[in-house]
């Protein structure tokens, strides 16, 4: 089917959504959308479904008056109320279509606010431009991450630390893994953003107004003084925070795929070794061995399995890589983002696969029906296709609204990759068993078809 004008069943979200995923990974940071009330409520709802956590996002609640005369008054009132109500250390402002189209100069409004309002004195305010019509949530994510270092990073003394930028949306469990990995390695690092606690908070007796955790503000300021930056999941992204730090402060930047699969995880480990001169801890060598062992165990079951992988660019590439490492055959490698670099890498990773960028689910569905797909991997939004094609769907990534555990999915690193292999294998086995059962019941005359 040719690319249609209308988008049918979108495989992407809007830019402000990406900004929330960054701002919520910053210590004491409250996100605020400059726009109409609905944007913040919709994204709160969307993320609450996914993470099963309360998600507060403020809004400047622009109305007709604001749309006509400009939203400065609303934005300032919104900032003031957020400071009074939530006592944030930082506020991350993301614009919406409305604010961008009426042409509000947000940085200027923020400067005025900071000059006028005594309450603003101890609050760091970051503003980013994220109109939904410009690009997808992935770009919103990159822009917000860049906005953070642009606003906050300051040159002082060399710290010798390494900036680990999480360049793609991964789960809180994945981020916890990265922290553990780096801690065990014993190297100094700054991890940013850090949603490991903020989007997956422990139940405790005190629930703070803004969830605890996140990258400390001082660390963000200090990113200018690190000896290098690794962007994990920045492989096919346009220049972002890491490039800014390199250009502005001379911090060398390396953009890597997410550590999913053997090769990509090895690549992260190798880079860390080179940068630090320290070897990867022995326990992770054993983990690597266990991953390899798992891949060997599952190789026959997974051999030649035709798959469709879709979702966010970096995640899709990582999953595609481990599939080819296992001898699976990705047939569709798709993303909703309009990202040509993705297309190039995807074609290299999975020769012969139909690679799609800027795709929606109607296009993916059209491809799926002619390619005998046996397994789908991606967000829950592909469930319609899975149902129609009677193909099992392993839910990975954002959004996942109809299953539990989105926050706890660990798919990064050797251990995470091992989980992914287990999950793919089991989903296929369960599907096969259901099929066999069904056939038996049909033979016994219990059901029709």
């Amino acid at each position: 089917m040719s690319k249609s004008l209308a988008t049918v069943n979108p495989c992407s979200m809007c830019m402000p959504m990406g900004s929330v995923m960054v701002f919520r990974g910053i210590e004491g940071c409250m996100p605020l959308f400059h726009g109409s009330q609905g944007c913040s409520t919709y994204m709160r709802l969307y993320l609450a479904h996914h993470f099963r956590e309360p998600v507060d996002i403020a809004s400047s609640a622009l109305s007709e008056k604001g749309a006509v005369y400009g939203g400065a008054a609303n934005l300032k009132q919104g900032l003031k109320n957020v400071i009074k109500g939530y006592r944030p250390k930082a506020i991350g402002i993301a614009t919406t279509c409305l604010a961008e189209t009426i042409g509000d100069d947000v940085p200027q409004i923020v400067r005025e606010f900071q000059a006028e309002e005594p309450l603003a004195k101890d609050v760091t305010i970051i503003s980013v431009s994220t109109p939904s019509y410009a690009a997808s949530h992935e770009v919103g994510y990159r822009v917000a991450l860049k906005g953070l270092v642009q606003t906050m990073a300051r040159k002082s003394e060399q710290s010798g630390r390494i900036n680990i930028l999480v360049g793609a949306i991964i789960s809180p469990a994945d981020v916890r893994f990265l922290r553990r990995f780096l801690d065990d390695w014993g190297l100094g690092y700054i991890l940013m953003p850090d949603i490991s606690e903020t989007f997956d908070a422990a139940l405790s007796q005190d629930s703070p107004l803004i969830p605890a955790g996140g990258t400390p503000l001082d660390d963000i300021r200090d990113t200018a003084n690190s000896k290098a930056t690794l962007t994990i999941g920045g492989w096919v992204q346009e220049p972002g925070a890491g490039d800014y730090l390199e250009k502005e402060f001379g911090v060398p930047h390396i953009a890597l795929p997410i550590p999913l699969g053997l090769e990509f995880t090895d690549r992260m480990a190798a880079n860390l070794e080179e940068l630090t001169g320290l070897s990867m801890p022995e326990s992770y060598e054993r983990e690597r061995g266990r991953l390899l062992d798992t891949m060997v165990d599952a190789h026959k079951l997974l051999a030649d399995v035709k798959t469709a992988v879709y979702g966010d660019t970096e995640m899709v590439l990582g999953i595609t890589r481990i599939m080819t490492e296992l001898g699976m055959r990705p047939q569709i490698v798709a993303t909703g983002a309009a990202n040509p670099a993705f297309a190039e890498k995807a074609a290299e990773l999975a020769p012969g696969a139909k690679v799609m960028i800027g795709a929606d689910f109607s296009q993916i569905a059209a491809e799926a029906s002619s390619r005998d797909i046996e397994l789908m991997v991606g967000p829950f939004t592909g469930r319609g296709i899975a149902r129609k094609e009677k193909v099992p769907l392993l839910r990975v990534g954002l959004p996942n609204h109809d299953r539990y555990g989105a926050s706890h999915q660990l798919f990064q690193g050797y251990e995470g990759s091992m989980h992914l292999v287990d999950c793919m294998a089991n989903v296929l086995l369960e599907d096969k068993e259901r099929e066999v059962q069904h056939e038996r019941r049909v033979q016994a005359g219990a059901v029709s078809e």
Binding site: L5, A6, A48, G85, P131, Y133, L203
Partner: protein, 469 residues
């Protein structure tokens, strides 16, 4: 004031007995994290359950992404409504206008999906750049030979109530375009959205009484049913916030009277059946209604009594989108022997809040357009055991160790009709009486001095020093 509130929110919250009318139905306060959505959302939730219609969002992709298959409204047949269609406006469309893309999209989608009607929703940006939705839709309608209805739902033009109106206006254009002669007597069900299959637990009673349901608006509706809805003799209005406007229009235009009813709770469900019987002034209908009421009540009473024994005396908080459901919930909680200590809505109007004030006890907190900070403090101060609300509020309650019942449009359990009340009672009971609330939040330690407080017992620490005043 029972809790600290943001400056400008003082009038929106009171305890019954305070006397003053509640401030309501105005713009949400910037920075307060209102639980409300926008005009578009109001329009979308009303129209989305029309199962065979094509719902096209004219705007950037976000508005369509976040509302894709958003309602738990179920269908007995077509499922076109469970897809998400968007013109996915890009920068160039914003600069040069989106009318051409819209017109081409309509053509393409009509050809591919053959819908009996298309609803076209405008979003914030369309209102700013000034696309003429009405004339694009009119031209498309002529060309395609199907109704193409513009829904004027720019997000910033008011609150959700404006969206309800925009949806009703679109429905109003559709109604009356198809000839039909229903059997006698006949009714429409307005503001019934078939969430979790609710309709299917209610409609059979009317059929049993010999009443034809011409159209349900909009639960499990087909376009054709709505087109002939003007032929019914009576409109029953359940979700009054969204559909009273349409009911009034239909009364003006077609002389169809309307009655407000609710299908939730034993009392309200029974009253709905009686209301219809009385309207048609038929002794036979009355007798049938009483028969059904007796039979169904007897059937579910033992189960409800069993649950009532487990929840009676507990305190409930209600925070709903619309007021009608909130009012119905108060009565349902009475049926379960529970006390309502907080009641609030996103979009209630002055009449709604007066009605609410009449049916709750003195001391009950009534709140309009609440936010998480206020809700949190209120739940604590009013010692609520249970919150009934939607997904955004669910995790707020859970984090505080408070039981929760989902009564929003994405719930998956049927709550209407007699069986629905059993389901509701069960859900209230399983969450209130779950053992998880008794688990120790802190592990007993032989070497530390960790407390053994349960989740619920730790409540006093939840409310941080309020500072937003």
């Amino acid at each position: 004031m029972i809790v600290k509130v943001f400056e400008g929110r003082e009038g929106h919250i009171q305890q019954k007995g305070d006397g003053l009318p509640l401030a309501c139905n105005n713009e949400s306060l910037a920075g307060a994290v209102s639980q409300r959505a926008c005009v578009y959302s109001g329009a979308r939730v009303v129209l989305n359950p029309i199962t065979d219609a094509l719902h096209l969002v004219h705007g950037p992709i976000g508005c369509a992404s976040y509302t894709w298959d958003i309602r738990g409204s179920t269908s007995s047949g077509p499922d076109l409504y469970r897809n998400s269609f968007s013109t996915d406006m890009k920068e160039l469309d914003v600069v040069f206008g989106g009318e051409k893309k819209l017109a081409a999209s309509l053509r393409e989608l009509a050809e591919r999906y053959h819908p009996p009607a298309i609803f076209v929703y405008s979003t914030c940006i369309v209102g700013i750049i000034g696309d003429d939705l009405r004339s694009v839709c009119r031209r498309a309608s002529e060309e395609l030979g199907i109704p193409v209805l513009p829904v004027k739902s720019e997000g910033f033009r008011g609150n959700k109530n404006e969206g309800y109106k925009a949806a009703c206006n679109a429905l109003n254009e559709l109604i009356g375009t198809r000839n039909y002669t229903p059997s006698h007597p006949s009714i429409n069900l307005l503001g019934e959205y078939n969430v979790a299959g609710d309709l299917w637990f209610v409609k059979p009673f009317f059929l049993e009484m010999g009443i034809e349901v011409v159209a349900a608006l909009t639960g499990d509706a087909r376009v054709a049913e709505i087109e002939r809805a003007h032929t019914a003799q009576l409109n029953l209005v359940q979700c009054s916030g969204s559909m009273t406007y349409l009911a009034k229009k239909m009364e003006e235009k077609y002389g169809i009277p309307y009655r407000r009813i609710s299908f939730f709770g034993l009392q309200d469900m029974s009253n709905a059946l009686r209301t219809v019987a009385e309207f048609f002034a038929s002794p036979e209908l009355k007798q049938k209604a009483e028969e059904i009421i007796r039979r169904e009540t007897a059937r579910v009473m033992p189960q409800i009594e069993a649950y009532r024994a487990k929840v009676a005396g507990r305190k409930a908080a209600i925070y709903m989108g619309g007021a009608a459901k909130a009012v119905s919930l108060v009565r349902a909680f009475q049926e379960l022997g529970m006390e309502v200590v907080i009641i609030g809505t996103q979009t209630g109007d002055r009449d709604d809040y007066q009605k609410i004030a009449c049916i709750v006890k003195n001391g009950t907190v009534i709140i309009d357009d609440a936010n998480p900070l206020e809700l949190k403090e209120l739940l604590f101060k009013q010692k609520a055991d249970l919150l009934v609300a939607g997904v955004k509020e669910r995790f707020l309650a859970y984090k505080m160790g408070i039981a929760f019942c989902d009564f929003n449009h994405d719930r998956t359990t049927n709550f209407e009709g007699y069986v629905g009340m059993v389901n509701f009672a069960r859900e209230v009971s399983i969450t209130i009486n779950s053992p998880v609330w008794q688990l120790p939040v802190k592990r007993a330690s032989r070497i530390g001095n960790a407390s053994q407080l349960s989740i619920t017992a730790g409540n006093e620490n939840y409310v941080q020093e309020p500072c937003h005043s």
